[in-house]
C-alpha cells in the first residue's frame, strides 16, 4: 500500500523547502543561511540558474538561482579547493550539485516511500518563472539563493 502523502498544504511544502535547503547547506556546505522570505523576485548579480526535473508519484521541477560569487564560495567550501580554481563552468557544477541535493532532500521529506527519478541538474537561461511554483529565497554570506518548486500537476486533493 503506498505511503500516505504527509504534506497537505502549500505552506507545508514551503516549510519543507526551507528545511531541505538549510539542512543541505549546513551539513554539506558548512554554511550559515537565513531565510529571506516567500515569493517575490530578487535581484542577483551575475546569476547562475540551474534546474532539474523529477518524475514518479510526484512530477515536477526544482529550479535554483544564485550568484556566481556565492556558487564559487559554496563550491570552494564543498571541495576544499581554492576559489580561484572555480571558473564559471565549475560554479555552475557546484550550483547543480547543491540543487540536486536540495531536491533529493526535499522529495524524501515529501514522499519518503516513493520511487522518484531525477534528471541531472542543468543550467537554464529561462527568465520566466515556473508556472504555479512556490518560491522561497535565502540569504547566504556571499549573496542570495532562490528556490522555485513546481509540481505538475499540484495534487488537487491536497495542495492549494
Amino acid at each position: 500500500m503506498p505511503a500516505e502523502r504527509i504534506v497537505t498544504t502549500a505552506d507545508e511544502v514551503d516549510a519543507f523547502i526551507v528545511r531541505a535547503t538549510v539542512e543541505v547547506l549546513e551539513k554539506m556546505f558548512f554554511t550559515g543561511i537565513e531565510t529571506g522570505g516567500k515569493g517575490g523576485e530578487i535581484e542577483i548579480e551575475s546569476p547562475i540558474q540551474v534546474e532539474l526535473h523529477f518524475s514518479g508519484p510526484l512530477t515536477g521541477t526544482l529550479r535554483m538561482r544564485t550568484g556566481e560569487a556565492a556558487a564559487r564560495a559554496l563550491g570552494s567550501t564543498l571541495t576544499c579547493l581554492e576559489p580561484d580554481e572555480f571558473p564559471r563552468e565549475r560554479c555552475i557544477q557546484a550550483a547543480g550539485e547543491l540543487a540536486n541535493m536540495i531536491c533529493g532532500c526535499l522529495l524524501s521529506h515529501l514522499e519518503p516511500d516513493a520511487n522518484l527519478a531525477l534528471t541531472p541538474p542543468e543550467e537554464t537561461l529561462d527568465e520566466a518563472g515556473l508556472p504555479g511554483s512556490l518560491r522561497h529565497w535565502f540569504r547566504l554570506p556571499e549573496g542570495e539563493l532562490a528556490i522555485e518548486f513546481a509540481l505538475d500537476p499540484w495534487p488537487s486533493d491536497s495542495l492549494a
Partner: protein, 129 residues
C-alpha cells in the same frame, strides 16, 4: 596497506568531494580512482584490483543499480564492498540498492562523520564476514 578505492559519479565535483571527505575522515587510501558512470567503473573493476566502490545511482550510460547488478553476476566483483552515495533518501531506493548487493548507503547531504561511520561499518562487516 591502504585501500584501493573506486569513486563512481557522473559529477566530477562530487567525485572530488567524496575523495576529500574520505581523506579528511582519515580513511587510509593507497589508490583512489574515479569513473563517471557504471560502465567505466565496470571496465576498471575488470582490469584493476579494487577494495571498495563508492557509487552514485543516477548516471548516464550505466546507472548505479545496473553496476551493482553486473557486479553481483560476476563472482569476483560480487565480493567487493560497495557503498551507495546518493541524494535519493527514499526507503524504496535504499531497499532496492541493498537488495542488489550494496553493503551500505549514505544519503547526500552527509557529514564527514556519517560517511566515516558507514565506511567503518561496511568494511567491518566485510572483514568480519
Amino acid at each position: 596497506m591502504g585501500l584501493r578505492v573506486l569513486i563512481v559519479d557522473d559529477s566530477p565535483l562530487m567525485r572530488t568531494v567524496v575523495r576529500r571527505i574520505m581523506e579528511l575522515s582519515g580513511v587510509d587510501m593507497d589508490v583512489c580512482s574515479e569513473a563517471s558512470n557504471g560502465q567505466e567503473a565496470l571496465d576498471w573493476l575488470l582490469s584493476e584490483p579494487v577494495d571498495l566502490v563508492l557509487t552514485d545511482i543516477n548516471m548516464p550510460t550505466m546507472n548505479g543499480a545496473d553496476l551493482l547488478r553486473e557486479m553481483k553476476q560476476c563472482g569476483l566483483l560480487a565480493r567487493i564492498p560497495t557503498l551507495v552515495v546518493s541524494t535519493d533518501a527514499t526507503d524504496h531506493r535504499i531497499h532496492d540498492m541493498i537488495e542488489l548487493g550494496a553493503n551500505g548507503y549514505v544519503t547526500k547531504p552527509f557529514s564527514p562523520e556519517s560517511l566515516r561511520d558507514e565506511l567503518d561499518r561496511v568494511l567491518g562487516d566485510v572483514h568480519a564476514g
